[in-house]
């Protein structure tokens, strides 16, 4: 073997050893980061299931809580129904408004759209208790009483920025070529959005909406002085309405009583399962909304 060939092979070995070491170190770091991220997640899930599952029974979903929260028995029917009603109404308000805002921002462009985006970002960063105060003075003070409607408006304000941001991103991603296609076919702008852009972005918009719903469903602060909470079952959105986070909050505050503590844990578990269900549903819908060849 010639000396130059030896030198080349040495160089090759040295380089590859150093690089392999770096490679391995980074892999270890990546795994460590994964563990750091996953451990709390698994721990919370395990804690919730372990602590909450013993409260779960048919009665838990079909009856309302006892008047005295230290008493055992009863369920959370009023809170589950209240949460679904308020979140549903909030979504009905926030989705059209959010998509309309995103369409507006995309269509107008320029400085106006910039300020719309800025305001929406600020809104997204607003502490939720501030949203509560705002809706309190807007709805509760005006109507003179707490109500499920006020709670829904507060949740709609929470959902709005999430929906706008998701829709805006997706509509901006809509291919410029598709946009030109609709123009060249003499399609009017509202028609292009309704029939081409929004359907194209639909799977992403649905994901955004479900993210917004998941976020709103767990909000407590905006409901404290809007929906207020209610120990009784009601479908009347003009009355104070109970919600699951409010029920968790009240019961967890009194966790010295085992019954209250268990009720809080059970409700927390149900809440997490509902959020998870919304997420899975969103993924499923999003996959179905995509054209066949992109699935």
């Amino acid at each position: 073997m010639s000396s130059s060939a030896l030198a080349v092979s040495d160089r090759l070995r040295a380089t590859s050893r150093a690089r392999h070491a770096k490679d391995r170190a980074l892999m270890v770091l990546a795994w460590a980061a994964l563990v750091v991220a996953v451990v709390p997640l698994v721990a919370i899930a395990w804690f919730l299931v372990e602590q909450g599952v013993r409260s779960i029974s048919l009665e838990f979903f079909t009856s309302d809580p006892p008047g005295d929260l230290s008493a055992s028995g009863g369920g959370i029917r009023n809170a589950v129904v209240g949460t679904l009603l308020m979140t549903g109404l909030a979504t009905l308000i926030a989705v059209p408004a959010g998509i309309a805002l995103a369409v507006f921002a995309r269509e107008i462009g320029g400085r106006v759209a910039g300020s719309v985006r800025f305001v929406v970002d600020v809104l997204a960063g607003l502490p939720s208790i501030v949203v509560g105060i705002f809706v309190y003075s807007l709805v509760v003070v005006t109507t003179g009483h707490f109500s499920g409607l006020a709670g829904a408006v507060a949740l709609a304000v929470i959902e709005l920025p999430v929906i706008v941001v998701a829709s805006d991103e997706l509509l901006r991603l809509t291919d410029r070529r598709i946009d030109e296609g609709t123009r060249a076919l003499g399609m009017l702008r509202w028609r292009s959005f309704l029939s081409v852009f929004i359907p194209t972005a639909l799977s992403g918009i649905i994901t955004g909406v479900l993210l917004a719903v998941s976020r709103a469903i767990g909000e407590t602060a905006p409901l404290i002085f809007t929906a207020l909470g209610n120990n009784f079952f009601t479908l009347d959105m003009n009355e104070p309405v109970q919600a699951m986070p409010l029920l968790i909050y009240r019961n967890a505050l009194n966790s010295a009583f085992p019954a209250a503590r268990d009720r809080a844990m059970g409700t927390a578990l149900v809440l997490v399962v509902i959020v998870l269900a919304f997420n899975l549903m969103g993924r499923w819908i999003a996959r179905r909304a995509r054209p066949a060849d992109q699935r």
Partner: protein, 291 residues
Amino acid sequence: MTTTPIRLQPPPVEPAPVVSVSAASHNAKMLEPAELSVELSGVNAFYGSRRVVRDISLPVRSNAITAIIGPSGCGKSTLLRCINRMHELTPGAHVEGRIEYHGIDLYAPDIDPVAVRRTIGMVFQQPNPFPTMSIHDNVAAPARFNGLIAGKAAEHDLVERCLRQAALWDEVKDKLKAGGTSLSGGQQQRLCIARALALEPDVLLMDEPCSALDPIATLQVENLMVELKRDYTIIIVTHNMQQASRVSDQTAFLTMGDDRAGYLVEMADTVEIFTNPRQQLTEDYVSGRFG
């Protein structure tokens, strides 16, 4: 929907002109006004204050294929987009000069740009079928939205007629419900042509329609263009000189001036441009010595 279709005045009925290629006579280039479909005079196009197209006058014959050739960046596409008023959609862009369609000034204040685009169809470089729509709906929807057709039967007839015109029917007739983007590139481009035809335009603008296609698909689209010129006036922008010489009847050669704006070097019957150009620049370009 109650939208009444806004249409420009229908073009005057006239017999398809016999395209006589008399290369010897320069007078052959002086076209009779009656033969013209679109006529550009002194057109300038701007992005902001920057002029990208300078003083172009172009007579476009009816029922013929007019090719616009020239090096990259010489304003070919911009010029094409002036004709159906797409250029002005770019923020800050505007057009000066006069563009007439059968004698009607397309930039007159009472002309609706949306109606112009319905009458003067356009096919783009990249096929752009609507991704969430089926093959059927890609053709039918724009016509439906424009109020040109109503009812399932009428839609079906229209879809079949346009897909046949675009030489795509036999390939897709059994899968009309499949997504428009599930087709191959060449098929997608013919679908886009069918979609444009569904609005019953009179002029078809094609902006490098074959540059994203393979040679076989290119040939299919070229054959299609020759078929279509019986019923339509076609203006095609192309980088491909062989394509221009194969399909077009008249050719306009543009190039970029010192001011970086595109201008018209020469326009004549295609045969003449490729065999006997009057300008040295044209000669150099078509023989591949420049550009």
